[in-house]
Symmetry: C2
Subunit: 82 residues, 2 copies
């Protein structure tokens, strides 16, 4: 299944607990769109968060993130990986 | 050791071989700054590449990337991870 990197802005001050909670909100509904959210990394200072997922397409990733309450329009396919 | 996400732009059309080669160029010299580059993901269409590393600080990541021929000023600490 294709892999995607998505990017969130404005999550200043994000704590480990808040990121875990946001990630869990994705996991709870990801099956509805066939998405598998794998990892997420956050920078409380810049407010940026990145997520790696496998999904049928970028729209599926967007739909889950939107329904989970943290929408983003930045979802990039990452077919190249090392 | 702190973890970092760095972002590269303009790598349009990047192939698996090119990403592997660029990553290897980092690995070859990363010990000079105490950096451990772990994973990298690329999107040939947008030209974006993301790398995850562990390093003493962001400057160390920048130095290795610059010497390896793919400089970036975007190096974010990611102390929060799931």
């Amino acid at each position: 299944m294709p892999k995607f990197m998505d990017v969130h802005h404005g999550m200043h001050g994000i704590t480990p607990e808040a990121l875990k909670e946001a990630h869990q909100a994705d996991l709870d509904i990801q099956d509805d769109e066939g998405v598998d959210f794998q990892r997420a990394w956050g920078d409380p200072e810049s407010g940026m968060v990145w997520c790696i997922s496998e999904a049928p397409n970028a729209e599926a990733v967007q739909k889950i993130h939107e329904r989970a309450g943290h929408p983003t329009s930045e979802v990039y396919p990452v077919p190249v990986e090392v």
